[in-house]
Symmetry: C2
Subunit: 431 residues, 2 copies
């Protein structure tokens, strides 16, 4: 007999949990019409039964015992929206052991333990959805898994963290300092009291590990992602970038290079004409280059109760449709390849430094770059103040090791007072 | 026993057919790894066996007899890439009658006969994919069917025709006339010798009928789509738009209004800041407003051998994965709702007219607008030449019937020499 009700247990009832509940209950008729069965939230695991919620929910659904979901034979789909590693991971694995389908929004867990989770799900023959783990409301995981699955992805460039994009947008549009923009982000609830996970690029690195794994069919370990945050980006760099026709974004980039797969997160100078350059505020966007399709961009809200809740709900519905048709679940893991990782990255760089305002200094610095094989695209003497001069250098695409050696040597020159900033440049990202 | 080979027959071997063949053969290993079975092109139906092809293909695969595909019990998936209504429709229906899964890129057929095709597919329990029928390489159908399926779509705005977007981009960027831009588009192969289907909005209307049907879960008959092309857009309107901070795009818009569902295709003045405004050349983009997610945009190539070929291939793979798992096909049709269609549209309008350069004329015209209840946002006297003056009017959002009555009355004024152009304005599309 075909199942008439598919029962869901939600673990964690914060922003995303309440959003998921709202989407599923408010749109239940529409969902039922497409699923062929009713999707019912049967239990919600919370830490505190009496906490005030952003959503109305019958008392009877709440439980403080996770076993009411993960060990409950009535539950078909366990939805993990608690975040963090533990106890989320243990709950998820136990739910899988018990033959439950799992949907999660947990980027940290998918980035760190994705392989073991997916393998367990596949060997149990259950579904595992994680659309909500990357870019909130943008259906980017499904785009890779169901549409770009027949294509060869060459490069993924993403603005995958809304907090840092908000800060950089504010710095660019209102000439704010990093500190002021961060304060504003905290006041609006976009940044945490301890903003490290966002501003130092950890959150973006998790998301890029997930996107790169799916896009390149190869498990990307979070340790393989080079990571750099935005806390060193100065107001002055944004100004200099503007004069060059560039804007600064915290970009995740995953690409196949001659040396292997490269995945990195860092501030990047991007030409104003690039489609990613006009993605502002807390929005996210992922720009993909692939062999057959060419250029695609997916743009939308990177977070939010309802937006992320919808991504969770769509994963639940995808699994529910298979259950309603009494189908086997399709394999979840698509990481069949074992790509080599690049030992080192190549990039163009923007370097802003402060040097003595004396004849011959420019030439001496240029000479050091040259002696380490770092060729230069341009040099701009920005302003001089008494005895010192601000100079901006743009290099060609160079190996990071050569660049770093040149930089060490430049720092040790008497004529160089300070190397103020170093930012990657992506001048040719968009053809 | 699980199927090891899933056999595909391709009908039509032009641009999209050869692209599909290339994607499937060049990426066969990757596809097999994800599908759990090999996808093999078994037969290709062509009109002329000896025609030179853009792709190398074994002679033995070619056939001039469509029955080698539609009646061939070996074939699992029949892929219709012939275009047009007949014989494509008959072949497709016979393939469905014979229990074959069908994948098509045929927007005209899906817009005109979508309901009968989907109903037959569902009653036969087979899969029916049509991702390639809208926006070439952009996975927009799947985004609606698998991700926005749990959300309430409020509005779809799309640049869904590359040819007209190329022409309008050229007019805007190079101050070309419509005629010159069209010639250039024809020279580059973007426009046909008879460009009617593109420039008069028929192609865009097919695509909007499909998108609106899926987005609003309600079969949108092609006759319900209001359609207007770009052939009357003047160089001068693009100039005037620029001064107002607007750009002109041929937009498909589908939205729920108080009066019901409205679907239309027409040139639209769009603010430069809108994400769709910077979609240039032959690119396509679809901008969606929905209740939970908010704003999403999908951007990419609207046509092309490999891009559209990939959309076809991804549909084939989706069906093949279910076959490989010995699953039932999930229902294809999601048009469970029966929405009421709006009897008339409301819009803001831009009107450029030529009137006598005399005191009192502005006031008289404004009076006529007012007497038909059409309120005005702004009036701009653009330039005067001797006895005549060019005047641009921007109305508030008004009912089209009131607007048309006002316009008739204005045309009959002695002081009005000519109404040069009328273009819709979408000033509030993006919040």
């Amino acid at each position: 007999m075909t199942k008439e009700k598919i029962k869901v247990g939600i673990m964690g009832f914060g922003v995303v949990g309440t959003g998921t509940y709202k989407v599923l209950t408010e749109n239940s008729e529409m969902v039922k019409n497409q699923t062929g069965a009713e999707i019912v939230v049967e239990k919600v695991f919370v830490r505190d039964r009496h906490k005030r919620r952003a959503v109305e929910i019958p008392e009877s659904l709440l439980t403080t015992n996770p076993e009411d979901i993960i060990d409950n034979p009535e539950i078909d789909i366990a939805v993990e929206l608690m975040g963090g590693q533990e106890p989320a991971y243990s709950y998820m694995m136990r739910a899988l052991d018990n033959g439950k389908h799992v949907v999660t929004a947990n980027k940290e867990l998918m980035a760190k333990k994705g392989r073991s989770i997916l393998e367990k799900a596949d060997s149990a023959g259950v579904g595992l959805g994680f659309e909500a783990s990357v870019c909130g409301g943008i259906p980017i995981i499904r785009a890779f898994k169901r549409s770009l699955c027949t294509d060869k992805v060459e490069r993924i460039m993403g603005i995958v963290n809304g907090t840092t994009n908000y800060i950089l947008t504010k710095m660019a549009q209102e000439c704010s300092s990093y500190e002021d923009a961060l304060k504003e982000a905290q006041a609006r609830g976009y940044a945490e009291a301890d903003p490290t996970a966002d501003v130092e690029g950890y959150d973006a690195a998790y998301k890029m590990a997930i996107l790169a794994s799916i896009g390149f069919h190869s498990k990307v370990d979070i340790n393989m992602v080079r990571r750099e945050g935005i806390s060193k980006v100065g107001k002055r760099d944004i100004e200099c970038g503007k004069e060059l026709g560039w804007t600064i974004k915290l970009l995740g980039i995953a690409e196949e290079t001659e040396g292997g797969l490269e995945v990195k997160v860092s501030p990047v100078m991007l030409p104003m004409e690039h489609p990613l350059a006009s993605v502002n505020g807390v929005n996210n966007a992922v720009f993909v280059n692939s062999e057959a399709v060419g250029e695609l961009m997916f743009y939308g809200p990177g977070a939010g109760q309802m937006a992320t809740g919808n991504s969770v709900a769509s994963d639940i519905m995808e699994i529910a449709r298979q259950i309603a048709s009494e189908n086997k679940m399709l394999p979840n893991c698509s990481c069949f390849a074992d790509k080599v990782f690049a030992e080192e990255c190549s990039s163009s760089f923007y370097i802003r430094l402060n040097a003595m305002n004396k004849p011959g200094v420019l030439g001496r610095i240029a000479g050091v770059f040259g002696s380490f094989g770092v060729s230069l695209e341009s040099v701009l003497q920005k302003k001089t103040e008494g005895e010192s001069a601000e100079i901006v250098w743009i290099t060609s695409k160079v190996k990071e090791s050569s660049f770093n050696k040149a930089l060490e040597s430049i720092k040790s020159l008497d004529a160089v007072n300070e190397v103020c900033s170093i930012i990657r440049v992506e001048a040719n990202g968009h053809c």
